[in-house]
Symmetry: C2
Subunit: 344 residues, 2 copies
DNA sequence: ATCGGTACCGATAACGTTACCGGCAACGCT
DNA sequence: AGCGTTGCCGGTAACGTTATCGGTACCGAT
């Protein structure tokens, strides 16, 4: 009993044809209940498992979803967990590939998944990606594809993402309501859609409060803690330094916090700070950092559900766009008006 | 041009047999260089991609590795990244499945991967798992399997993991050297190997310093922040409360920290604290928490390399065990003797 | 007796690929 | 002239499965 059993083995042992075995196992009609029982019993005994490869080859689908993400940080790993949950339920297996924010890796990954013959893709695009040919190739082949979280206007597909503009808006408005006047934004790379949307929200909040946009207060830097740290140091070195900072990710907020502390400034008094994502870590810091929350897990689930829908209606469906609402979580770092109850 | 091209299409267009095309594409001998060129040209033009399903069915390997992890927290996602890196390089695609620390999910996942016909497994076992039949089934089928990080004596297989005992030892010894006398340990579930090893290290450090083991100071609790918080509250409510706590994960250290702060105790003066994993977050807290570092990324890489080795020597190899060394990172939370330079 | 229907089953081709075997021509050598 | 060798190529089976078609046997009704 080394090699796994096949329907052929069962057929031979039972002296019936493989066709009958196949039917019996799929519990199809047109097969005597006695033979069905016999087949079932034997296949149990031999621990028969249908060979998915053969099956997939035959019916041209693998029941596998290719998931491409730029990394597996807190937010994305929550989303992937959501995808996993729904996909597993629906009988799909997922293959997760990290592009490491690299354009090249992203291409290699799509290529790999494509010729692993996944049934479709759920994608969050890397921050480095400016050309979308590799993804368009997927669509040309009529393979279902859903994008989530990091969407881009250059890629028209069913999508699930946060209302990033609104997120940027409520964060900025909150700072304004707290009395901050010179609000800087630490944005991501210029071609990163989520960053731009959050910045749009920032700008429209400024406009609502009749505050002129100041290009010196708009800083683009790489999507990580170290760059944010240095960028903040520069901001704080300005003659007229900002009195609040909105960073488009919590990682960046942490970088900013380190710079602020180093300069000896106190939050929220000397300077306000608010991040984005509401990672658990920000509530552990001193002071606790305010942030814009999104339900990553739900976004993941929604993406998987949308994928399965798209899969079924194979293509003849408008590219649905699901937009989730962010939620403001106010903590110490931005709360100047109502002083926090405890320390500080 | 809807369906992808096959060698059959190429053969027909070129009026040669599929055998020849197959040989030409694999760049085999026994084929005229002119025909080879023609085939190459046409396959380029038709954008021919070999069908991996058919290939896999034929040669009974999928070039896919099934990776099963309990979750995708910081440590494991770093390890997975390491696995990814090496596997990709070696031409393998990885399928990552999260068991969510659930025994049931783990079984479902192995089952899924098994009949997705992965070439082998790289596994970190869930904390809930007490029976290993599902993994032994893999071995019985002679399918390569490497375990990493969370290993267990119940599963004999090539493995890569940290020297957890040594990690527990150096953490505890450090606390002792700092002058702490009543050191509690917050351990994980009783059947979790890494937890037990770290505890063994803890015990042998106590023994070295001739301190009697006190069962009241040994607390098993679930592997997460909330449980650690409550467990710490209980510890601190003792008549003779501990003057230091060693937690076997940083998550738990954070829970402990919250409890300590709530009780109004100061680290490192009133109580010492040291965690495990050296997640970036612990250096951001106030006070910064000491921790035992391991190079997760390297462990992941090593696991993948070991897998590939195992794969090649198919089975006739002793079950190699690679043990990585931990590293102590001393920060404010445990440094009583040499007072930290800055605040507090 | 013939017919139609039903219940059950088997043979075959196909999915896309490769391994294996055998064949044919051309060539050089005895 | 006959032989073995070499270079190139094609046919076929096989991997494990299912869809399609057709066949047999039996039953009840005309």
């Amino acid at each position: 009993m080394d090699k796994p059993a096949t329907i052929k083995d069962i057929a031979k042992k039972l002296n019936i044809s493989i066709s009958t075995v196949s039917r019996a196992i799929r519990n199809a009609s047109d097969v005597n209940s006695d033979t069905k029982k016999a087949v079932m019993a034997l296949s149990e005994e031999l621990n028969y498992q249908p060979n998915r490869l053969a099956l997939s080859l035959r019916q041209k689908q693998t029941h596998t979803i290719g998931v491409i993400v730029p990394n597996l940080d807190y937010v994305l790993s929550m989303m992937v967990k959501g995808i996993d949950e729904v996909a597993l339920e629906a009988g799909y297996t997922v293959m997760v590939c990290q592009s490491n924010e690299s354009f090249g890796r992203e291409i290699v990954n799509t290529r790999r998944l494509l010729d692993s013959l996944v049934d479709g893709f759920i994608i969050s695009v890397s921050s480095e990606t400016k050309s979308f040919e590799h993804f368009k190739k997927i669509q040309e082949r009529n393979i279902p594809m859903v994008v989530f979280d990091r969407v881009t206007p250059h890629l028209v597909a069913p999508s699930v993402h946060l209302d990033n503009e609104n997120g940027g808006f409520i964060a900025t408005e909150h700072l304004l309501e707290q009395g901050y006047k010179r609000i800087a934004i630490l944005a991501g790379p210029k071609n990163l859609g989520i960053s731009n949307s959050r910045m749009d929200g920032y700008l429209s909040a400024l406009k609502k409060y009749k505050i002129k946009k100041d290009n010196e207060l708009i800083v683009h830097c790489d999507f990580n803690q170290d760059y944010a740290y240095f960028a903040t140091l520069e901001l704080l070195a300005m003659k007229k330094r900002p009195d609040a900072i909105f960073t488009i990710s919590d990682r960046m907020a942490i970088g900013a916090m380190l710079a602020i502390k180093e300069k000896g400034l106190k939050m929220p008094h000397d300077i306000g700070l608010i991040g984005f994502n509401n990672e658990p870590v920000v509530s552990l810091l001193t002071p606790q950092i305010s942030s814009v929350d999104m339900s990553s897990f739900e976004i993941g689930k929604a993406a998987a559900k949308l994928f399965i829908e798209t899969m079924h209606n194979n293509g003849d469906m408008p590219a649905e766009e699901q937009i989730m609402k962010p939620r403001l979580v106010i903590r110490e770092s931005s709360q100047k008006k109502l002083p926090a109850a405890g320390k500080l």
